[in-house]
């Protein structure tokens, strides 16, 4: 290699390095368009260890589900919100509309999983006992007759989901009226309707159980009752939608 060609190469390498550094620094800049800055969400820590729900949900499932799946929804949500803020800034209404479905899906994934981690707890915890939810259990009995019938109805709803989705116990408030309902949602659609409070949810995506239960999802649906956090359920039942969603504000 001649002296002149090696110095040209050095020059090229240096400029590549310069370009690379600039790109990285730009990527690390906080996103801002005056007041149009998009919020950035982050993964809320699990309120228990990855293996804390064993033997009902394995450590491996929890690690992947929280560390990979939930994180991916957040990563994609943040990217979509950034693009949306740019579209808003540019008055690009078509661009904004085209982003809606992606935001719904990824934000739904973030909302659903954030609520899900909180509405579970180790089976040994006092919060896993139904006595931790006296008012909610009373309302469940008043609505379904007894707890067994409620669990059967919930199980039938969960096993009836065609594809990916969630089952939720929802408190629905309409003026002074208030009732409980078992609601299934497809894919990552969140429970965010007016007057609706998601009391607790069960993830029926295959990634939530497959490594442990394979095609035996009925066993997963049976077992998950052991790790429902009834204390959290009671708090959500007695609270407002904003109370239920406060975890999302905490992970920004």
């Amino acid at each position: 290699m001649t002296g002149s060609s090696s110095s040209s190469l050095l020059l090229i390498l240096l400029s590549l390095k310069f370009l690379h550094t600039t790109a990285t620094e730009q990527a690390q800049q906080p996103f801002e368009f005056g007041e149009m800055a998009a919020p950035t969400y982050s993964l809320p820590p699990l309120p228990y260890a990855y293996d804390a729900l064993e033997p009902y949900i394995s450590k491996q499932i929890m690690e992947l589900h929280h560390g990979k799946h939930h994180q991916t929804y957040i990563t994609n949500l943040n990217a979509a919100l950034k693009t949306q803020a740019e579209a808003v800034h540019a008055s690009d209404i078509a661009g904004q509309v085209s982003l809606q479905q992606g935001i719904r899906f990824n934000a739904g994934g973030h909302i659903n999983h954030s609520l899900f981690w909180q509405n579970m707890c180790p089976a040994s915890s006092p919060d896993a006992k139904r006595s931790a939810a006296p008012k909610l259990v009373k309302q469940i009995k008043a609505t379904w007759g007894d707890e067994e019938k409620f669990r059967e109805a919930f199980k039938a709803a969960l096993l009836g989901i065609q594809g990916s989705g969630w089952g939720w116990l929802v408190k629905i408030e309409n003026g002074k009226e208030q009732r409980l309902s078992i609601v299934t949602t497809k894919d990552q659609d969140p429970v965010v309707g007016k007057g609706e409070v998601p009391v607790f949810g069960i993830d029926m995506w295959e990634h939530a159980y497959y490594l442990q239960y394979l095609n035996g999802k009925a066993a997963y649906v049976e077992n998950i009752w052991n790790v429902i956090n009834w204390k959290t359920a009671e708090e959500r039942y007695l609270g407002t939608p904003a109370d239920a969603f406060k975890i999302l504000k905490a992970s920004m």
Binding site: Q101, Q162, G163, H207, Y210, L211, L214
Partner: protein
């Protein structure tokens, strides 16, 4: 739709069923005499698609998941036949989504097993002839088509399938995604399908589904796709 499905299943059953399956079908009783759907035999061993798809996945996928669609389809078809016999239109409408889902699951998986093959049986060998020409005309190259197909697979929100389909009106091909077990029926003809349900890859690939989408092309049976293309 359902009567066509039942007829074709009956033909398929007559052509392929083993003696044990005939015996099982014989349990149907007198309330439902038309053809029952049966699980088609895999045209290769469970382990034959390794390392792209493990034998364990194939066994669960074929013997458990597909079997459940077949069993449920027969169950709901029987209920549908009863509802028709009673002229109970409401019951028939209520059963439609169940037929769509379980019938779709049966159709999709049946086509899927056929459009895969071990490399020793031609899996991964590129298409030839008219289908190859059509892919090149529409996408420029097979690799460009695969890239678009994988992007479509990755974009599925929830469970579903991506298909290379042929428009029966124009004859042209395109990539379409379908939710859950919605089958390719009506205007479009299924040419090649890839299952993007998590059960199709999770034991091998977990959340790294892009790796599954990349690996599965090594066992795609383009000969089967060519036969479907008209």
């Amino acid at each position: 739709m359902s009567s066509t499905l039942l007829r074709s299943s009956a033909v398929r059953a007559a052509l392929r069923t083993s003696p044990t399956k005939v015996a099982r079908a014989g349990l149907a009783g007198s309330t439902f005499v038309r053809g029952k759907a049966t699980l088609p035999d895999l045209p290769y061993d469970y382990g034959a698609l390794e390392p792209s798809i493990s034998g364990k996945i194939m066994e669960l996928h074929h013997d458990k998941h597909h079997q459940t669609y077949v069993t449920s389809l027969n169950n709901f078809s029987e209920q549908m036949a009863e509802a028709k016999q009673k002229d109970d239109v409401k019951a028939q409408i209520a059963l439609q989504p169940m037929i769509n889902f379980h019938g779709g699951g049966h159709i999709n998986h049946t086509l899927f097993w056929e459009n895969l093959a071990p490399q020793s049986q031609g899996g991964g060998e590129p298409p030839t002839g008219k289908l190859s020409q059509s892919i090149n005309d529409s996408y420029g190259s097979l690799d460009a088509m695969k890239e678009k197909f994988n992007a479509a697979l990755a974009g599925i929100q929830g469970s579903g399938w991506a298909w290379l389909v042929q428009d029966t009106q124009t004859g042209s091909i395109q990539i379409k995604t379908y939710a859950n077990q919605d089958p390719v029926v009506g205007q479009f003809r299924p040419i090649l399908g890839i299952d993007a349900w998590e059960h199709a890859y999770y034991l091998d690939y977990q959340n790294r589904k892009a790796e599954y989408f990349k690996a599965i092309w090594n066992v795609v049976n383009w000969k089967a796709a060519e036969k479907r293309f008209q």
